[in-house]
């Protein structure tokens, strides 16, 4: 056996050069077979299982309507003006361009893409955009985001629509991507959308409004794809049955799996587990009425400093499928996300509690939660255990999901107070995220308002919405997040990343943080 000699710098350089040359020669001599194999293939059917269903799904008569499909993923059949990509950036879809034509960001003009055809062969025109948005903003039949924000929409040219917002909205591009705000062929408000005609990559083929939908490819789709002939969505009531279906090869894909199931799926052959950049968060509403311990800011600060979020991530999420929240609605992949300076500080938490008159620790009211996510019990158990280190006793209790929201908020006559309780938060753009703490009448802040800092927060929100320049807006967003991190009106427990699982012969799919924004246009099967 020859004696080992440490390679000299010259040896390393020669070796590296030789390797690079061999690699490039290899490319010349042999075609890149892996790239050739990755060329999208047309045909086939993909079946995916979903574990949550649109709460507005209805009868067969209305099942094709974008508000009432079995799944909130309207992207299979319909297009919106814009869509939100995997980095939560607004991208063109039916709109090719959108710009504010008034400095205060209240009037927007949108250029409509030419050459888009609906499934029935009709051209998509600006009249369809106007008609669709008149429906979306209708007081009785419309959708919340449009009703709240859109005052008027009108035709401004052959391919141009003009939107008049009720209040400034610098993030129009994200607002226009909301999953219900799709473009449908113009029709009366009572009829629009019921025929299921969209301009998306797939058309409705078969529907059971409560169980599944089969789509077929739209051969005249204006964009890339679709490559699949058919796409099927099957609703499953439990993770167990979805997994059985996947193992029995009935399903090619399951969207939104329980993080605890990841190791089991990873053991299966030819299976890919894909974790999105972000997903939903869990927050805890801290009631601020007379007599509540959360009236004292120091108690709120102590609580958020005491939680061992990293332990939750390690124990419940296998170290990777969750992220550290920053005590705001922002997700860590938002460009404007401002991390908390200190993640956990038990000593400071104890000091704050002592200053607040609890030198021997504090017993908080029961924190209620509901089964919004399959792993939620484990999250709350680890959290309740971790805050004990700071002298905080926090009883926890699971409540039934049905009726939970009504139960946790106060009644109309305010004879029952709202509760210390968990709520879910979807991943969205900063404007939609931070708006939730800028509403004095909304329970989620635990009625932090009226409050000088709360007033400052609202003023900053209004300023951000009227600021067209993204960098300037980001500075305002950072200021708003600093206020929330100092005031802790609401305590954010953990952020979870969406997890999808699919067979290895499925290509072109990537888990999306906003589960409703994923698109099957370019997905194919080998």
């Amino acid at each position: 056996m020859g004696k080992y000699k440490n390679p000299s710098r010259r040896d390393v350089l020669i070796g590296a050069g030789a390797t690079a040359a061999a690699y490039s020669m290899g490319d010349l001599i042999l075609p890149n077979t892996s790239l050739a194999a990755m060329k999208p293939k047309k045909g086939g059917k993909l079946t995916y299982a979903i574990l949550t269903r649109n709460s507005k799904h209805k009868s067969l008569k209305t099942a094709k309507h974008p508000y009432q499909g079995i799944h909130i993923r309207t992207k299979n059949v319909y297009n919106a003006l814009t869509w939100v990509d995997h980095d939560i950036q607004a991208q063109p879809e039916v709109a090719t361009k959108w710009e504010a034509v008034k400095d205060d960001q209240t009037i927007w003009e949108v250029d409509i893409r030419e050459g888009i055809k609906f499934h029935d062969g009709r051209d998509l025109t600006v009249d369809d955009v106007v008609s669709s948005y008149n429906f979306h903003r209708d007081k009785k039949k419309g959708t919340s985001f449009a009703k709240k924000m859109l005052a008027k929409v009108e035709k401004a040219g052959p391919n141009k629509a003009r939107f008049f917002m009720k209040t400034p909205n610098a993030e129009f591009g994200w607002w226009a991507a909301e999953y219900r705000q799709v473009i449908m062929p113009a029709a009366d408000i009572d009829k629009i959308g019921l025929d299921g005609i969209g301009s998306g990559p797939f058309k409705f083929a078969n529907i059971d409004p409560k169980r599944s939908v089969v789509y077929e490819a739209n051969q005249d789709y204006w964009g890339e794809g679709p490559y699949l002939d058919n796409l099927e969505v099957v609703y499953q009531q439990s993770m167990g049955s979805a997994m059985n279906g996947f193992r029995a090869k009935q399903f090619d894909m399951i969207l939104g799996i329980d993080p605890a199931m990841v190791p089991q799926f990873e053991k299966l052959e030819n299976t890919t587990v894909d974790i999105a950049k972000a997903g939903s968060q869990m927050l805890a509403v801290m009631p601020k009425y007379e007599g509540s311990p959360f009236m004292d800011k120091r108690v709120r600060q102590a609580l958020t400093l005491a939680v061992d979020r990293q332990k939750i991530i390690d124990i419940v999420y296998g170290g990777s499928s969750a992220w550290l929240t920053n005590d705001t609605h922002m997700a860590d992949f938002n460009e404007d996300f401002l991390p908390r300076g200190v993640v956990r500080d038990v000593a400071k938490a104890k000091k704050l509690l002592a200053e607040a008159g609890h030198p021997n620790g504090i017993t908080l009211p029961t924190l209620y939660y509901s089964s919004y996510y399959p792993e939620i019990d484990r999250v709350f158990q680890v959290m309740a255990e971790s805050v004990k280190e700071a002298g905080i006793t926090m009883p926890i209790e699971l409540k039934q999901k049905s009726g939970y929201r009504k139960w946790r908020v106060e009644d109309k006559k305010k004879t029952r107070k709202h509760r210390f309780a968990m709520g879910p938060v979807g991943p969205r753009n900063p404007a939609a995220n931070l708006f939730r703490m800028a509403r004095p009448t909304y329970n989620e802040s635990g009625y932090w308002h009226p409050n000088p800092k709360g007033d400052e927060f609202i003023a900053l929100y209004k300023k951000a919405m009227a600021t067209g320049d993204q960098k300037e807006r980001r500075a305002v967003y950072h200021e708003m997040q600093r206020i929330l991190q100092e005031e802790v009106p609401t305590f954010f427990i953990i952020g979870r990343r969406s997890i999808d699982v699919f067979r290895s012969n499925v290509h072109g799919w990537k888990a999306h943080s906003q589960s409703w924004s994923g698109k099957f246009d370019t997905v194919w099967k080998s």
Binding site: S55, K56, S144, S241, N244, R247, A248, Y404, P424
Partner: protein, 322 residues
């Protein structure tokens, strides 16, 4: 005898009324309402409490409970279960196909369970105390003890995952053709049949043994009637009578007993519809399904009572004396 039958019928009507009240009260005490489930977190994030209250008023959710109950009941007695709260869809439309699907699965299960349970029960009863009886008794106790969802899951793993003969999950539509459903119903049916055969065969075994020990069988034996004839012509029919009530309740209970298996396999039946109605707080659908279940139990029980009165001379004479 006629008077007894009328009395039983009136009692059944009273029971149905009480069931209707009980189901209504049970749905009333559930937290939340249909609107609460209907609205998403996104909706609530941009709505005011006044907006929500207005919607609640529009849907009639603020009408006092007694008025809602009697409105529903007055329709239900003539077969009109009303409409769903949020979507205003006739409830008959919602439950019709799931009901047919469940009845189909229930019929398959009953048609297989009855003869199999009868054969096993009679075999064990005839050879009571012997090895055959011991094997049958032990097996039935095991079969009866294992919950349906465990049997179902094991069957899925074996016959859908390891040996892919059947689907693990039934994806057929609510309105699927009966033959399409029949083709995929074997695993759910076997899941239920195992437990039911175990239960019924034990009842039939006891009835068989009791009949074998009765005076008329002893007299037949002493008269020289061949054993085979005694068993087939006398013991088997007579041993059914004590179990008629149990069988009637079993048949009526097949529907409610299907909830678990429908959930495990995703079978598009009434059980899944009931779970969903509870989840979405569509109380009228819950009431309709529970009411139908109660009607079925009462009617089957009534029929069993009538059958016993008609078939058993001892009961008939006892009823006539009263």
């Amino acid at each position: 005898m006629l008077r007894a039958m009328i009395r039983r019928t009136l009692l059944s009507v009273l029971i149905l009324f009480l069931v209707a009240i009980f189901v209504f009260l049970a749905t009333e005490v559930l937290p939340g309402d249909a609107l609460d489930v209907y609205l998403s977190e996104d909706d609530v994030a941009v709505m005011t409490e006044e907006d929500i209250e207005e919607m609640r008023h529009d849907l009639g959710l603020d009408i006092p409970a007694p008025i809602r109950f009697f409105t529903w009941l007055s329709g239900a007695v003539v077969g009109d279960f009303g409409v769903t709260i949020v979507d205003q869809i006739p409830i008959g439309n919602i439950i019709f196909h799931p009901l047919l699907n469940s009845l189909q699965l229930g019929a398959i299960i009953t048609l297989i369970t009855m003869p199999v349970a009868f054969a096993i029960g009679a075999t064990a009863g005839y050879w009571r105390g012997q090895r055959t009886d011991a094997v049958v008794s032990t097996t039935t106790i095991i079969g009866y003890s294992i919950p349906d969802f465990v049997i179902g899951t094991v069957l899925i793993i074996i016959f859908a995952v390891w040996i892919p003969l059947f689907p693990a999950v039934i994806t057929a539509y609510n309105k699927a053709h009966p033959m399409e459903l029949l083709a995929v119903s074997l695993l759910p049916a076997i899941t239920v049949i195992i437990g039911h055969v175990a239960h019924l065969s034990r009842l039939l075994r006891a009835g068989f043994i009791e009949t074998m020990n009765s005076d008329f069988v002893e007299r037949a034996r002493l008269s020289g009637v061949p054993e085979r004839r005694i068993v087939w012509r006398h013991v088997l029919p007579a041993s059914v009578i004590p179990t008629l009530n149990a069988m009637a309740l079993y048949m009526a209970g097949v529907l409610s007993g299907l909830i678990v298996v429908e959930k495990v396999f995703g079978y598009p039946g009434l059980g899944i519809e009931l779970i969903e109605a509870v989840d979405t707080r569509e109380v009228h659908v819950v009431q309709a399904i529970a009411f139908l279940g109660a009607v079925l139990v009462v009617v089957m029980n009534l029929l069993a009572d009538f059958a016993i009165i008609a078939l058993d001379p001892r009961v008939r004479s006892h009823v006539s004396e009263r």
